[in-house]
């Protein structure tokens, strides 16, 4: 396929590329981004703004969804287990699922839609209006100025958001269990403590770091590959959200498989 090479050596496909071609561009993009890690002077001052954009602005939505997830988990645990197993296992079920699974996955999926799409749209819009070219012409690289701050922000805020998500889900699950069944708080938290292990904290940490990387990297790649005006920007945003969701669920399984 004919390709146009940009200053940074990216190959811009002139026809819609196939899956293998796109995968090759993605890996090349990832490699260039890793190489830009040396340019700390450029991305160092920028990541905090991005972290606030990703973290602080997403927190209310994450807390809301996590609270209802915790409530539903508790509801299911009570309905499925209450007649057959000790009551405190409700606390175990809610905390295990919230910590190991839902906190990082919910945070990742929410950020895919909220951050992934908007990041891709922002960068796509910059690309089609030549702002990315302007940036490069001033002696910056798109990887150091645009991609690295977003990746760093994603990888640092996602674990923090996942902690908030897990705490909210457990708290909401506890309130639901106590309100629905009359079980004591002591019993619930006995269950939480009973089977607690290092993995409960390590697993969501690894997952959320990887999810943060995947969401931001995919969003930046899609945005900076956008072409053909507003339509291309729209496509980039949609694809960023869809591919991020697919990546999160795939990574969730792989990490779980390796670590559990």
């Amino acid at each position: 396929m004919p390709l146009a090479k940009t200053s940074t050596g990216h190959s811009i496909p002139q026809n819609p590329p196939g899956v293998l071609e796109k995968a090759r561009h993605f890996l090349l993009f990832f490699w260039k981004t890793l190489k830009s890690a040396r340019d700390t002077d450029t991305y160092g001052p920028l990541w905090l703004d991005q972290a606030i954009q990703i973290g602080v602005h997403s927190l209310p939505l994450i807390l809301y969804i996590s609270a209802f997830t915790g409530m539903v988990l508790s509801l299911q645990a009570v309905n499925q287990l209450f007649q057959t197993v000790p009551h405190y296992l409700t606390g175990t079920t809610v905390s295990k699922l919230a910590l190991q699974e839902f906190s990082s996955v919910i945070t990742g999926l929410v950020l895919s839609g909220r951050i992934g799409a908007s990041m891709a749209a922002e960068l796509g819009s910059m690309k089609v209006t030549e702002q990315v070219d302007a940036l490069e012409s001033m002696g910056y690289t798109q990887e150091a100025y645009l991609v690295m701050p977003r990746i760093l922000a994603g990888m640092t805020t996602l674990p923090v958001l996942a902690v908030f998500s897990a705490m909210t889900a457990i708290a909401a699950g506890w309130i639901t269990a106590v309100a629905m069944t009359g079980m004591s708080s002591y019993e619930f938290f006995k269950g939480v403590r009973l089977m607690a292990e290092t993995k409960d904290f390590l697993l969501p940490l690894v997952k959320s770091l990887l999810f943060g990387l995947a969401i931001t990297l995919i969003a930046c790649f899609q945005g900076l590959s956008a072409e053909k005006g507003a339509r291309g920007v729209g496509q980039a945003a949609t694809q960023a959200a869809v591919f991020s969701c697919v990546a999160i669920l795939t990574l969730d399984f792989i990490v779980g498989w390796v670590m559990l």
């Binding site: 090479k5 200053s7 030549e130 001033m138």
Partner: protein, 254 residues
């Protein structure tokens, strides 16, 4: 400034997109202090050519030397340093729309935020030279097309470049504003000891340039002083000059 020094040297430059040859062997030399107009029909490769000069595009083959440095061999830090000596004004200004005008200019100059009083003064002065006052706090969306172009020029100038590239700086502007921008480019080239290459369709002020280079089908069809272009008997040049200078006729169905 040594007027015989070669600032830009292009040797047999070739570039294809989707198998279509856009640049088919360009040989061109631009000397220090020259103000060169790059003209030609839409799609003839003018913008592609100037994007090669600051390595926003890489050629399929051929050599590009900027002040004696082979651009094809430059990557990473060395390329970034070279680019900081080349100012570029894009067709639609390409101002960063999420930043104020002052922030746009500070970014171009690689000044960290917040800028110092001396840097703020420099931004103010650069805008003042463009005839713009008290707009540093505004965002690009609040500016007219002509103002955006002036800000884009000011933004390029705070980099203190020795070479300026303008990609259709007068496109989309009404004739008085287009003339004012061309005058500004001419004045800056002289006052700041710049070398400038201007992609333009506007032949009404072509006499302001030292030299005109006309591209046709990816090759240089004409390279010489404006007077020679305007008096040329070559059919394609005559047609281009006539169509570029004459108002576009509008057909009205009765």
């Amino acid at each position: 400034m040594n007027r015989t020094e070669s600032v830009v040297s292009l040797v047999n430059l070739k570039k294809q997109f989707e198998g279509r040859s856009v640049l088919a062997g360009i040989n061109m030399e631009v000397h220090a202090g020259e103000l060169v107009a790059l003209i030609g029909e839409s799609g003839c490769g003018k913008s592609v050519l100037i994007k090669h000069i600051n390595a926003l595009l890489r050629p399929d083959s051929g050599k590009i030397h900027i002040q004696g440095t082979d651009l094809n061999t430059l990557h990473g830090e060395k390329l970034k340093m070279l680019r900081r000596r080349i100012g570029m004004v894009f067709q639609n200004a390409a101002l960063f729309d999420s930043m104020s005008i002052a922030e746009n200019m500070a970014l171009a100059a690689h000044w960290p935020q917040p800028v110092s009083a001396a840097q703020a003064q420099e931004i103010h002065f650069a805008l003042h030279r463009m005839g713009l006052e008290n707009i540093g706090h505004l965002y690009p969306s609040a500016l007219s097309g002509g103002m955006k172009k002036r800000v884009a020029i000011a933004r390029a100038l705070v980099m203190k470049p020795s070479l300026m590239l303008y990609d259709e700086p007068t496109t989309g502007l009404d004739p008085p504003r287009a003339a004012a921008i061309t005058e500004l480019i001419e004045m800056l080239n002289w006052e700041d000891d710049l070398t400038s290459i201007v992609v333009t369709h506007d032949l009404s002020r072509i006499a302001a340039y030292d030299r005109v280079v006309m591209l046709q089908q990816g090759r240089i069809h004409f390279d010489g002083p404006p007077a020679l272009l305007l008096s040329s008997q070559d059919k394609s040049i005559k047609r281009f000059v006539q169509t570029s200078s004459a108002p576009v006729p509008i057909e009205v169905n009765a």
